[in-house]
C-alpha cells in the first residue's frame, strides 16, 4: 500500500503518469464521476486549513465517493489526548483513504506506519505539503506544456516558505531548470537548500532583491506571501513589502507568456488588477489542485478507469 508523505515519494515517471491521469480527468470528468462510488475519504485536520480540506473533499466528491472527518484538533479525540497512532487505527476501520493535516512535523508519517489505508500528508507543520507541490507541477505542465527548460522566479519569503523549498526539490529533477531567487536579505533561501539541493545538482541560480530586475527574463513567477511577523522591525517590513507587490506596471516588464503562480491565500502581494491578466493563473491553480488530488486518490486506491 502506498502513501504520499513527500513530493519526492513519486519518481519522475510516476509523477508523469499521475499528471497524465489528472489531464484525462480534466478532459473527461464524466468518465470518473462514479470511480470511487462506495469509497470514503477521511479528512483528519488537526489544525484548520479550509482550502486544503475542501480541495481533498471536492476531489473525492467529484469521483462519486463520500467524505467524513474533522477540521480542528479541538473537535477531535486529540483534544482528549488520543495519539495519532490510535486515531489512525480507528479511522482505518471507517474509511478507505485519508488526508491528514497536523501541526506537528512527521505526524502523517506516524499515521502511515499504523494505517491499513493510504494516508495523504495534507501538510505537517513547516515540513511538507506535497499535494501543493503536485498542484504546482500540474499547473506548470498543463499551462506551460513542459516541466523542463524553464527559468523560474521565486519571490517573497524564501526562508520559511515550505512550498518554495518543496517546489525547488521537485523541479531540480527536470532538465535545464534555472532559478531566480527574489527576496529581501532577511528572507533569503536558507543555506542548506542552496547547498544541498541547488549546488549539489549544479542548478544555476541568481539572487536578487528587486522583482523588476528579474521579471523580463522569466518563464514563470512563483509568488509567496511576505509575512509581517517574519521581520524584526516594522521599518524593514514597510520598506520591503512594496517591492513585492505585483501590479500592472510590473507585469508590463514581464514576457507575454510568463505565468504567475501563487499557493494562496494572497494578502496584498499580487494586486487585484493583475487578476484579469491571462498570465495570472493562481485561480486556475486551485482547479488543478482538485484534478491532481482526484488522480492521487485513484492512484493510491489503485482504481483504474477505462
Amino acid at each position: 500500500m502506498r502513501h504520499l508523505m513527500n513530493p519526492l515519494d513519486f519518481s519522475v515517471e510516476e509523477l508523469d503518469q499521475l499528471m497524465d491521469l489528472a489531464g484525462d480527468i480534466e478532459a473527461h470528468p464524466e468518465k470518473y464521476a462514479h470511480a470511487c462510488e462506495g469509497k470514503k475519504l477521511a479528512t483528519l485536520f488537526y489544525e484548520p486549513s479550509t482550502r486544503t480540506r475542501l480541495s481533498h473533499e471536492a476531489a473525492m466528491l467529484n469521483l462519486g465517493g463520500s467524505i467524513m472527518g474533522f477540521s480542528s484538533a479541538a473537535s477531535s479525540s486529540a483534544a482528549k489526548g488520543e495519539s495519532v497512532s490510535d486515531t489512525i487505527r480507528m479511522i482505518s476501520c471507517y474509511a478507505d483513504i485519508c488526508a491528514m493535516r497536523h501541526p506537528k512535523e512527521g505526524a502523517p508519517m506516524v499515521a502511515s506506519q499504523h494505517s491499513t489505508i493510504p494516508v495523504i500528508n495534507a501538510g505537517d507543520g513547516g515540513h511538507q505539503h506535497p499535494t501543493q507541490t503536485l498542484t504546482d507541477l500540474l499547473t506548470i505542465r498543463s499551462l506551460k506544456g513542459r516541466l523542463n527548460h524553464l527559468k523560474i522566479g521565486l519571490c517573497g519569503d524564501l526562508k520559511f516558505g515550505r512550498t518554495v523549498h518543496s517546489l525547488i526539490n521537485a523541479l531540480v529533477r527536470y532538465e535545464d531548470i534555472e532559478f531566480v531567487l527574489i527576496s529581501p536579505e532577511e528572507l533569503r533561501l536558507p543555506g542548506y537548500v542552496r547547498k544541498d539541493v541547488l549546488d549539489k545538482k549544479h542548478i544555476p541560480y541568481t539572487e536578487v532583491v528587486r522583482l523588476e530586475e528579474a521579471l523580463p527574463t522569466l518563464d514563470l513567477l512563483y509568488m509567496t506571501r511576505v509575512q509581517k511577523e517574519r521581520f524584526f522591525n516594522e521599518e524593514d517590513y514597510v520598506r520591503m513589502k512594496d517591492f513585492y507587490i505585483l501590479d500592472k506596471a510590473k507585469m508590463a516588464l514581464a514576457p507575454k507568456d510568463m505565468l504567475v503562480l501563487h499557493p494562496l491565500p494572497r494578502v496584498n502581494e499580487i494586486s487585484v488588477e493583475v487578476d484579469d491578466d491571462p498570465r495570472a493563473v493562481y485561480f486556475k491553480q486551485v482547479q488543478y489542485g482538485v484534478y491532481i488530488r482526484m488522480a492521487l486518490i485513484l492512484t493510491l486506491l489503485d482504481i483504474h478507469v477505462d
Binding site: 495519539s83 495519532v84 497512532s85 497536523h102 501541526p103 506537528k104 512535523e105 512527521g106 505526524a107 508519517m109 506516524v110 505537517d124 507543520g125 513547516g126 515540513h127 542548506y192
Partner: protein
C-alpha cells in the same frame, strides 16, 4: 601496555574498546546500556596513548553476542573494538556508521511529532554518509553533534 598499570585483570570473554576519545567513556557506557548488564565492566580514563595523547578504554567481561555495538559507529567510528575469547584477541571489528539509530538521540525540533506522541521511537536515519549527516525520520531535522 599502559592500561595494565591499573592492574585490571584479563578478560576471558568480552570486549576491549580501545582508542576512545579521552573523556567519552561514560557516554559510551550509557549508550551501550552497560549499567543494565550484570557483568564486569572496567573504565579507564585518560590512559596515555602514543597515537592520541590521552584516551579512554572500556573493558567488558560478557558473552560477545550480548551487546549491540552498531551504535559505537555512530558515536565514534575511530574506536577499536577488540573481541576477546580465552583471554586473547580473536577479532578486531571495524565500525561503520549505522544506517539507522533508534532511541539514542532525541529530536530537538519542538515542532516534531516525537515531542508529543507517547511511546514513539526516536529514529535517526543516515542521509549523507560522506558528511555523516543524520536526520530525524519524522521531521527530517538534522542532528548536530556539536
Amino acid at each position: 601496555m599502559v592500561e595494565n598499570r591499573l592492574n585490571i585483570g584479563k578478560i576471558s570473554e568480552g570486549f576491549v574498546l580501545d582508542h576512545i576519545q579521552a573523556g567519552k567513556s561514560m557516554e559510551i557506557y550509557k549508550h551501550l546500556r552497560l549499567d543494565k548488564l550484570d557483568c564486569c565492566v572496567a573504565i579507564i580514563k585518560n590512559a596515555r596513548s602514543n597515537k592520541m595523547g590521552k584516551k579512554d578504554i572500556i573493558k567488558i567481561e560478557c558473552p560477545i553476542d550480548i551487546i549491540d555495538l552498531d551504535i559505537l559507529g555512530f558515536i565514534d567510528h575511530n574506536i577499536t573494538v577488540n573481541i576477546i575469547e580465552n583471554e586473547t584477541i580473536v577479532d578486531k571489528r571495524q565500525l561503520k556508521l549505522p544506517k539507522e539509530i533508534k532511541n539514542v538521540i532525541k529530536c530537538k525540533n519542538p515542532r516534531c511529532i516525537t515531542s508529543i506522541e507517547q511511546e514513539l521511537d526516536h529514529i535517526f536515519v543516515l542521509t549523507d554518509e560522506e558528511n555523516e549527516v543524520y536526520r530525524c525520520k519524522y521531521c527530517e531535522e538534522k542532528y548536530n553533534r556539536h
